[in-house]
Structures are given as C-alpha cells and as structure tokens.
Symmetry: C2
Subunit: 251 residues, 2 copies
C-alpha cells in the first residue's frame, strides 16, 4: 500500500510552522506497513489543492490530508474537496451537536462560522473529532482512500490513532487494532505505574499499555490486536474493568 | 518570484527525520521576497526525483533541492540531476582539493567514494561548501534557477546564507547582500559583546551584526546591503579591520 501525505496551509509555505505532522504520520503508516512515497505542502489555494490531490489519488492507495479545516475564510480544504468529489456540503447532525456541546462546556456563544464546521461533503464518512470542532472526513474514489483531518497536531493524532490507522491496518492484514484510552487524575506516572504493575504484567501478549502523561493527568492507552473484533473488544473491556477495580479513586 | 522546495531522502518518508530544512528555507526566501508555493519530499528514487523537479521547473522561477548528495549508493540526486540536464559528471578540481584538505585535517584516508563527491554535472556552477564534502550546484534551465544542496542543515544553511540568498536577492531587487563571517576564540559571547559594543553601535545603518555562538567559539556574521557591490565590499572590509584592531587576541 502506497501513501501520499498532503499538508495544507500558508503558514507552512512561509516557514512560520515546521511540518511535524508529516513525519509523525509517515512513521505511523510505516509501522502498519504502508509506504509513504511523497509528502507535499501546498498553500490554501483551490487550484493547488485540486492538482495535488488529483495527482496523489492517481498514484497512491491512501492520501492523508491535514490542514485548512478551520472556520475562517482562508480555510478552503473542505469546499475544495467537495469540488474534487463533485459533491455538495450538508449539515452533519452529530457533528453539530458535538460543536454545540463543546461551546456550552466552554461557556461560549456559537456563531454562524462555528456552525459551518458541521457541514461536510455529502459523500464522505464523518470521523468524530473528540478534541476539536472540525471533524475528520473519509472518502473513497477509484479504489483510493482519501482522509482529510485537522492540522492541529493533537486532533490529527487522535483521529489517526483512534480511527484511521486501525481501519487501514485491518484492510491490509485483516487484523484489527483497537485503542482504548483511560483517563486518570490525581496520581503521578511513577506511582500509578507501581500500583498497576501486576495488572500490566498479566495483560495478554496481544495487548500493550502506553502511559501518556500531561499536566494534572495521565492517560493510559491500551492497544489490542486481533483477528476477531468482537472478542478483542470483549477481552479489552475485561482488562479495563480489572483496572477500574485496582485504582477506582483515580479514574 | 515563485519557489518550489524539494527535499530528497528515504529518511523523511519513513518519518525518521522531521524536515526542518524546508521551513527554514521558506522563511529566508520570504524574507527576500520570494514566495514558496510548494514543498515536496520524495524518496531517493530517480523516477520520482525527475518527475518532481520537472514539474517544479515548469511552475517556478526557483527550485531549491536538498538531500541525496552523500557518497553512498543510495544518494542519487547528483546523477539524477545530470540525467535531468542531459549532462555528464566531471571532476571539479577545487572541490577535490577541498575534500583532500578536509580529510588531511581529520587525519583520515580518502576512498574512491569520497573522491566521487568531487564530481559534478558539467553544466552547473559549483558552490563551495565550506563545512562539508558535497558541493552545492547551481543550474539554469528555461529561465528557472535550480540549486542542489546537501541535506545536512548547517551545510545547507551556510550555502544559502553565503551564496544562494545574496544571489537571488540581487536578481530580484538589484541590491547586493554580503555576509562576512569572523571567527573568534577564547572569549564568551557576553564579554565579546561588551568589548565591541562601541564598534557595533557605530556600524553604518546598512550593516548588521549577528552573534553565532558554538562550543569554544563565537562566530560574528556581518551582513551588509547595498546597490554597488565594490563599495559595499570595501565598507565592510574597513569595518572588519577596525574590529581586528579592537580584539586582535581573539581573532
């Protein structure tokens, strides 16, 4: 499987921002056996986006796009993709609710611009963005998969880990990868690690735990791999229940 | 003036290395009024390099290429550019001497591979690489300038600062930029700065000083801008002579 990564944004072309997304994505693709053959950065400009996506689709099995999904006028990736797929923009109800929820939580008023974030090309499969307002979008054309994601690194990474990489991996080798993230609060990484070390040692070989510390919390990401999705789901849920019994006060 | 930056190297496409060269180059081009419209990373693969360079040349006034100039078999940028320009590789005597000198200084034996670093396409103008064995190469084709540079960031930056940016800037606005670098030894940045502050304050407005500290030494880079190259050269040499009289023991 061959991939082309496209990053979109004027800030990349004036050197204001170093494109770290591409290296991260290329590395993760490499990890599941997808070979990146080209990385291209282009401006927020319809003709350039159309040309680059067109070329990428004709050469590769997977095209991953980041950037240009913000609510302001200079962000034109979504409307340009609609043009590329000969498609129209429609409101995606669950995304609209997600945005409303995010704004309510932050105590902010929603504007017309924010609502527009919930519009997507009709033909795409929407990928939930748990960490922001711009959803991911999954398209297929002539056998090529095209995924558009936000350029904000942590939003992109979350969409990749939770959805894109597992999907691609399953397509390639028939194996499912499932990630489950557990938030812990009020305990440092090393203390946490001590408390759950027995549980961690006894995880089945096809499960793997990662510690993702950030200020005030440690996220635990449990990754499982298997050929049968429902049994994998079940096995992982069982392990998470065990964990909840070990450290109920921190979850 | 429009530019396309091409970075070449398998390490970029597996995500082993983040491409920081492109952002740096784009920023510097922006600084002299050259607009970067695309950044492309491709593998060390002749067909991909040829296709990308061909496309870039047809769209832009300047194509800057980094990477793929090492001595080993996987580095094919030079032979591929020779193919692109229908050219043959010839030995560039000053480069060969530069390499011999570098090896002598390091007390190392030269091999056939190292000597090959001194071969360049016959039609290019060779740009001296003061910090490494792979020279820069300047080509022109159908009115487009194509420059090939090593991927090692400090070698690329030195070639850009000392040669490529001044040349391009002069082409664009008829103004010359001249950089002169003075090595100082045995004195820390802040002490040095104190000792030469009067001299620095009295520099003409069209000259600018930068401190580039590294372990054991501080490089001073004096940059001058003007419309008449010989008078600018002269004025800068005069300032450097003054400096040499102020801190003779450290230069």
């Amino acid at each position: 499987m061959k991939a082309h990564i496209i990053t979109i944004g004027d800030e990349l072309l004036i050197g204001q921002v170093v494109d770290t997304n591409s290296a991260w994505m290329a590395q993760r693709l490499d990890g599941i056996g997808v070979k990146t053959i080209q990385i291209t950065s282009v401006q927020d400009q319809a003709s350039q986006i159309l040309e680059t996506v067109g070329m990428a689709v004709s050469q590769c099995d997977v095209v991953l796009i980041t950037g240009g999904l913000g609510p302001t006028k200079d962000d034109i990736t979504k409307s340009t993709l609609a043009r590329f797929f000969n498609d129209e923009l429609v409101v995606h109800q669950p995304t609209l609710e997600n945005i409303e929820e995010l704004f309510k939580r932050r105590g902010l008023e929603m504007t017309e611009l924010n609502m527009r974030q919930a519009m997507v090309p009709a033909s795409c499969k929407v990928i939930h963005n748990a960490l922001g307002t711009a959803p991911g979008m999954w398209f297929e054309k002539n056998g090529t998969i095209i995924v558009s994601m936000p350029g904000v690194p942590f939003e992109m990474k979350n969409i990749m880990e939770e959805y894109v990489l597992p999907q691609l991996s399953q397509m390639i080798n028939g194996r499912f990868i499932i990630h489950k993230t557990i938030l812990t609060n009020g305990i440092g990484e090393s203390f946490l690690s001590d408390m759950i070390s027995n549980w961690e040692d006894e995880l089945p070989q096809y499960m793997h735990l990662a510690y993702l510390p950030s200020p005030g919390m440690v996220r635990l990401r449990l990754t499982g791999t298997g050929e049968h999705k429902p049994s994998l789901q079940l096995a992982m849920n069982t392990e998470i229940e065990k964990l909840q019994n070990i450290i109920p006060q921190y979850i």
